[in-house]
Amino acid sequence: MPFGLLKYGLSSRYPAEVDIPPPKALKSSYDVVIIGGGGHGLAIAYYLAKYHGITDVAVLEKAYLGGGNTARNTAVIRSNYLTSEGVRFYSESVRLFQQLSNEFDFNIMYSERGQLTLAHTDGAVRAFRQRAEVNKHFGGRTEMIDRQQIRELVPTLNLDPGHLPVLAGLWHRDGATARHDAVAWGYAKEAAKRGVEIHQLTSVEDVVIENGRLTGVKTNRGAIRCGCAIQAVAGHSSTMARKAGFRLPVVSYPLQAMVTQPVKPFLDPLVSSSALHCYVQQTSRGEVVFGGGSDPYPLYNTRSTLDLKESLITSGIEMFPFLAKAKLMRQWAGITDMTPDYSPIMGASPVQNYYLDAGWGTWGFKATPICGKTMAELIATGKTPELIAPFCLERFDHFRQINEMGATAASH
């Protein structure tokens, strides 16, 4: 019996620690307004308060806390990207993730299961080797493994699906998963403890810009003045930016995922196949989660489709044939803001005092801590941290893209 639980059983009154404070009135002005109460927005608030003493902060969430892509993603944490910029950034994120439970005093169930990506073609072997090399270069634990090693790692995996036998695998020991909601709650709890205000059911309907500088936001609960604002609204990055008067190179696509009923553990690592456009993992509750590629057309709608379910599940069964007898319980979707280079957009925007935390496609959750930390530093100091400088919006003007296309497809 862990000590942390004794108080619940032994105390006469239920010791309800308040993780998320009850709603209160909006003030007319804040130093910092964060638009979007998902993992990212809450992380920025937390790091602003923790490292920079900035606590006059309002996090505005149009629905419920962490209800957007924080709630909908499949909780893959990894750093085995392709570019130096990407690997450095996400590696730091992984390091921060590892501390979070103890930092929050709240178990986010960070679980280092490792991620295995399967190569079925020569091209994939080549690309994976490059990713492994780049990762190792920056201290990550990633290597190419052969069929025998794959067999030992995931004995239940079918290595010969149809006409696409598995040739090799990219084994990313640092790959992990965590309870995604808990990440947002942990940030909310610790930010609130430090004085940050969290306002749910508060949507930002417009931003107020005077002489090219942002001075406030208009919400469904009235106008607020602020020193600066940050948009952290994955899934609606471009619509929010449009309110601020500029365009983002973002096209939004639905991304669907699905989960089976819980069964006893049979799979430890997160396994994905680039050729089958499918990834599979088993949660700590025993459910099997399937994810794949985005829908093939842009849309702002989180409906589910039958077509995607059919094709994704067909691929899943190719990988684990015995799953044919598993039972699907739930299907859902999120909206992914895809950028041309499959990398995020962080930093300043064309509007002064308005910052961007955008373009998170399918790679947002895993960047939550590091994005929050570096964005907080940018807001507090006005200087762009080196780690995120390459991800600025201007890179698209200068053709300095950070191409992660090959390292994101269907492995999220």
């Binding site: 620690e17 419920y64 990713r131 696409l164 808990a182 509750r285 598993a326």
Partner: protein, 982 residues
Amino acid sequence: MNRYEPPAALHDTATDRLAAPMGRRIDRQAPRRFQFEGTPYAGYAGDTLASALIANGRYLLSRSFKYHRPRGPLTLAGQDANTLVQLPDEPNVLADTQPLTEGLSVYGQNYAGSLDADRDMKLGALAKFMPVGFYYRAFYKPKGVWKYWEPLIRKKAGLGVFDLDADAGYHDKAYLFADVAVVGSGPAGLKAALTAADGGARVLLIEQEPELGGALTYARFATDTAPSERLLDDLVAEVEAHDNIRLLCNATCNGWFKDHYLPVIQGRRLYKVRAKACIVASGAFDQPAIFRNNDLPGIMLASAAQRLMRHYAIKPGQRAVVLTGNDDGYLAALDLVEQGVEVAALVDMRAAPNETKLGDAVEAQGIARYREHTIFEAHHAKAHHRVTGVELRPIAGRGEVGEARTDIACDVVCMSAGYMPAYQLLCQAGGKLSYCDETAQFAISGLPKRLYVAGSANGFHALDRVVHDGARAATQALRDLGHQVDVLDAPKGALEQVNYPWPMFAHPKGKEFVDFDEDLQIADIINATRHGYRDVQLVKRFSTVGMGPSQGRHSALPTARLVAAATERSVSDTGVTTARPPFAAETLAHLAGRHFDPFRQTPMHRRHVELGAHMMPAGDWQRPAYYPSRAGTLERLRCQQEEARHVREKVGIIDVSTLGGIEVRGPDAAEFINRIYTFGFLKQPIGRTRYAAMTNEQGVVIDDGVSCRLAEDHFYVTATTSGVGRVYQSMLQWNAQWRLDVDIANVTSAYAAVNVAGPLARQLLERVCTGVDLSAEAFPYLGLREGFIGEAPAYLLRVGFVGELGFELHVPSRYGEYLWDTLMEAGKDLELRPFGVEAQRLLRLEKGHVIIGQDTDGMSHPFEINMGWAVNRTKPFFVGRRAVDILHSHPPLRRLVGFRLPSTSAKPLEGHLVLEGERISGNVTSCEYSPTLDAIIGLAYAAPERGEPGQRITIRTEGGETVTADVVALPFFDPDNQRQEL
């Protein structure tokens, strides 16, 4: 304590079934034997596993998810997780829908030891230490310990176990079409189907259960059962006889997708139904009451007890207590008494029934009636895991009870606390739920066009109104489909009161289960809100309420009420969590259907197989990688080198049919090609080929091929094997804007092609080719001719990917095998030999040719890869032109260079990094040992200043060893290209 002691010979007496007409589903002439937990039992055909076990006196079927509490059937309709059992090859099977078959062997799941004596039951004693979301509060201190806790917790979580060798067997899919799809064949669905069919619509009636009729087959609607029985017989007879109605029984409509696209699972088939309109008459879920130990085996919904009797002829128990919040509990009590069950008490949470005559009727049967009372706690005897009695208390207020207690012994408890519409499909379609405080019911509105709700799903419960509402929905559907019909009004009359507003009674000792799947008690839900998780979505995520296999069928309503009260909001504002497909758990085999593994074969595929080629995937195609059988069992590398050497020395043939082929015809053909590709094509002469590279709008090289001008207005262009689909698509997309006068056709599979290359290539071709002067003067390098190979009409292209004298021959695909055979036959004495993709890769590398996709990535622009020569910068436009110009004006970031290492060096692998000190400056894209040059050669991205021959680059190879390679001029072999231009 007043405890029910079962008769000694329970097992013998319980196998006696009730007399007909009870038991409409079972065939008493067809006994079935089966085993549960290793114990043999008997039942009848038509039984489910659960009904047969109950008939044998066994209620305990499973253990709960968290506390491992004993559980028995709640709904007997496949709507709860209490009946999940383990078949030998399948976990999580619903025992109350699993048909009983001879010899079936079933076990419980999620226990330690045996189902009856589950050692994990002690977890229940620790419940106080496992508050809602307990795992967030512990297991992480000191840092890193979660790693040790997680496997233990994982092992306890989960339910059944997979059989890793299980074969799900044949499953398939079919499409169905209907004017009106009716989901559910209860009284509303039957009437809706009939009305729509009478009105001329083609109707598909989908029923989840084995027979038509829904509640009419098991429920009681009045003291006199004759009218509802007659109604059932009449409606079913009419429906079955109707030509316009197609029936699907045992079929679950598992989702609503846009435009009435309905997945319906029946047997081993997934029907995909396209309906013009859809009427959802899915009924309503009977709701349990919430009191301490409300999850004991033997405690079930009143409808479950009625199903046991009418469907399976099983007496639910000997002595029953009925707890009700509506009149249906009275009717169930009458059913029980009529079938010989002693009803020890009818406990009405209300003061009186809506229908006063019902009170008289139950009292006439001698049933003790308790008004404004509830069950406060249920008891059980550990020995046989079944309810043995209940403690009644008077209701003192909302959720509160008085002190006076009455203990009653019983072996079955029937609950009827209210209804929740089966709203899942409707909410998937965008319907919104609102809560009526007066009736304590949820109602649905805001449905999309041509989707209708009818019957009890629409809030009607009186039989005549339910039937009328079915007809009403059908008339609306008919009108919206353009039929002439008078649309009926909604059923008239006052709101029906079928829900008791607060059937939840917290007990100081807890264990009043709101969510059976997840073992969540009243306090868990309230405590979640006290922790700050006030939104019902957050309550769900924090407490996991509604996330189990039954997906909130019985927990959504009480959760909404509890959260609303705890957060001082209305139930409407609180709402329920989003309903997502599927409606019921669906096996993955249904979604996957038949196993299709489509791949493409070239017309010469059979020949490659005969030659023993080792095939490899290339896009959707299979291509020969190399031909091992030619020299015994050669490994890849030696085959590659031998085949390559043969091309350099004699002549080889490679199947290039997979190359993409696109025909562009029309007056604007040249202009079109000129805009799509980077080179200049307006002045490309007829009878000449020209290299064609394609960039996207970001200036990145995305494909390449050869443009062949066959006529002034006719081009044939090739594209990469895996890229042609994209190329063709983008051509169409661009021309949708440009509106040039061209026809564009993807003719990839219309042509078969080979490349014949090597010093003897011309000699070979002269033997089989007619209609073309093959001499170097008449048919120079890059020439294009039309002629015949044997009798096959052919395009002949003099191109040189492998750097030898070579001809690419394109023939209509039906001549593919003929072309191959003709050349192979004619080339016998020239030692013509097939070569595969591996040899081709080596040969082209020796010539320094890039492969788009291998030597390029998502950032490569033409100048980076030394293809500036293929960009015509004098023409006004091509796709990507602006970006290419900008990129060219920037200082370069990297450059693709040729490098060379001595053959004794460690060989870099493709993907290895090029380093500039500690900085990654590039990567190896191609690398091979060249037997011709006796050196390791390759292409790599490197810092731009390393681009000139004579400089050196550092490559980190396998195991971290670095090598320093010489940057050399390209091509590596035959720098003056004399061989290919022979």
